[in-house]
Amino acid sequence: MKAAILTDTTKCIGCSECVLACKKVNHLKEDVPRRWDTDDGLSARNWTSVIGEPDNKFVRKQCRHCLEPACVSACPVGAMHKTELGPVIYDSSKCIGCRYCMMACPFGIPRYEWSTIVPYVRKCILCYETRLKHGQQPACTEACPTKATIFGDRDELLAEAQQRIRNNPGKYLNRVWGEHEVGGTSVLYISDMDLSFLAYGEHFGDKPLTQTTRVAMEAVPFTFLGVGMAMSGLYWIIHRRMKLQTEQASEDTEHQASPEE
């Protein structure tokens, strides 16, 4: 099973029960509006948030748990980890606090505890430790009163999403957000409005972001050896030439010197 969440924004009433359930399960303290927060409601103490859009529409924002996560590939010490079950989890004991995961995430999900002197990265981990491991579903999907956000297997949810779109012509935009973007995500959305505002880019490609750095990283050993060998070769050639030149020069001087004597 690949754990996944499907959020149907047409069913969301914006009650924020998911946010409260998340806070309770993860023992997150009350949120205080702070200088370094962005306007989407996510913060180190809010791992999910409900964004209000015009016309009484609401979108729940949370970590997308990408199938090929940029944060996992970016973390230099491997503190971010994609589990077999699906969630991307975080090991605070490894973290060095470089915040590269925050820069790498195309959805801008990971948040930082800026106010503390021992700060960690915070984001949704799909209740991996507390619930998912024990066969329970995440707190947010359980708390949703309208079943706007549901938990299940990714393939099944994908089929469900497509069926909902088919069965209700005109109700949804014909697209499942998270099916293909950046290689696919575990958190899927269907909606009657454009949800590209949830990410940095307007138009995400389907290629996983990890491929962008893979090219550069795979070139590293070859660059290292190539430059090393090129430099050694150059050194050898230039020095041999210099040596020959000096020998030649000394021979020449000997030749020139001898007749005069």
């Binding site: 702070r34 060095i96 962008t212």
Partner: protein, 646 residues
Amino acid sequence: MERVARLKLVLWMFVGLAAAVATARFLFGLGATTHLSDGTPWGLWVGFDVMGGVALAAGGFVITATVYIFNLEKYHSIVRPAVLTAFLGYAAVVVGLLFDLGLPWHIWHMMIYWNPHSPLFEVGWCVMLYLTVLTLEFFPVPAEDFSALARVRRFLIKFRIPLVILGIALSTLHQSSLGSLFLIMPYRLFPLWYSPILPVLFFVSAVGLGLLMVIFESHFTAYLYRRKPETHLMTPLGVAARWVLILYVVLRFGDLTVRGQLHDLLGGQGQVKLFWVEMALMIVIPLILLFTPQFRDRTNWQWATAAIGVSGIVLNRIDVGGLADLSRGTRLYIPEWTEIVVSLGIVAAATLVFLVTIEHFRVWERRPADPNADPRKLPEFNKVGLTWLGTPVIAGRVKYSLAFVIAAGVGFLLLGNPRAASRGVEPTPVHRARGNVMYLKTGLVNDQKPTGTAVDGEEGVLYLDADLTGYGVTFYHQREVERNGGEKSCVLCHHMNMPRDRDSGCYECHRDMYLPTDAFRHDWHASPTGANLACVECHAPGYARTSEHVKPCMDCHKHLVPAGATIKIKTYMAPSYVDAMHELCIGCHAKVALKENKPEIARCVECHKGKLNYADAQNLLYRRRALAGRLVVLPPATPANHSEGK
């Protein structure tokens, strides 16, 4: 040596300021001392200290390659300063990194936890290895002065060529990998900077920067120590830098053309302007100067060219590192003064080490003579303090210490306590409540009519939005009057009792609505001028001295809770006003809702009608956002009791 002494004085001042900020950084954390945020997690410390520092150190590998690999012996005299600059540059990078990392004491995790997919992993290892190589490359210089180290020195010199080649290979990787870092964020970096060939661009510009930095450093130290400038030697370096810059500009604009981003160059965004400033400093001005012989061959112009080019390329690194970031948030990242001070302080410290090293070791053929060290010089007299400062050497030290201490003091004064202690809670800007008329039927807010008067058949309500966030609270004035007992109830709200005071808002008193209030003054209780209590008089001996193991306030303050009162004192932190107001209303509403089976009276919408309108939602039972752990479960709303509420 006037110039050096004056420069050192300034440098010590920067180090002092940075020391003050460093204290705050490690006491209060990143949030209190930087303008970084969840929207822009990287800023000046990554862009300038780390990426700029590495780029500035590029002179080391460029010059060692020139001399040892390409065998251009005439540059031998500048190898040592170039390697020293590179070494100090990398050391500065490590120091800068310690400031920027959230958990700097975990920096060694790079060595034991590996993630070979991460460009930052490569960067980390390159810094470690290249710093080691640079140490080994430079070590023979100070070792000259100690006969005990002669064997080590001979051994290191034997391995010089392999070390140089290793250094070049590592630098190539490292300079380019700083560009690779940003490959993973194509949607985040502004398109004018993001490019799949970012690593190549970074490497090429680093070579150019290395050459320019060597020119700058040579002329700068020549000016400082009144040496003969090495103009003839620097001219070919400038020519080489010219070709590197041309290669760079071809690559960069070629890349823009191939990616079809040329139209971005005409945009009006701040980033486009930034791009042109960068291009002017990095390419246009240096190239014009380097292509004109009368500028290229003159000492002062060489110096200026190098300074402009260096600042341009460093600006490029800062842009990529944070300024050209497409932040999702509304706020733009502009470095906080503390960030700038730390960056300058690190550079100042590295420069000081550089100056001390060239004064004490044979970095140049001839060590610069320090006239202050001349034993025949007279002691210095301070006319202001009417004191003797001792020999010039001692007097110099006194002045530097004084500069450091005063600057650190100024730094602490500038830091100020409230900002650091506020932990990122911004003082809520409060304004007079705007009494706009809102027509509930249409849901429109009429900004043109400032005060609320009832319009035919429709109830006029006040739309209170004191912090101007756009999230307001609707206030039914007439309903409040009726509920509170007619005209006599005015004083319940309009209680400030000032002349002509008609509508004093919550904000008039509660200016810190979101801050928790400390109801208990601990310092006052402990201080000799206050209650003068010993710790054990409240905290039970043998337990941790926290609020958990403390005796209740009522043990001393017998009259704190009147007899028969139902209020319980649980914690010593009173909730914020916002929380307090919510609890006052919501608690009672929830109870009554349950008792009377009228779920709608407990809805958030009763008060908050600014942007969110819950009223139409069918399955809505009882929703409240502010307080966790007080959920009330109600029977599902039937159409009957739904209409009853209306």
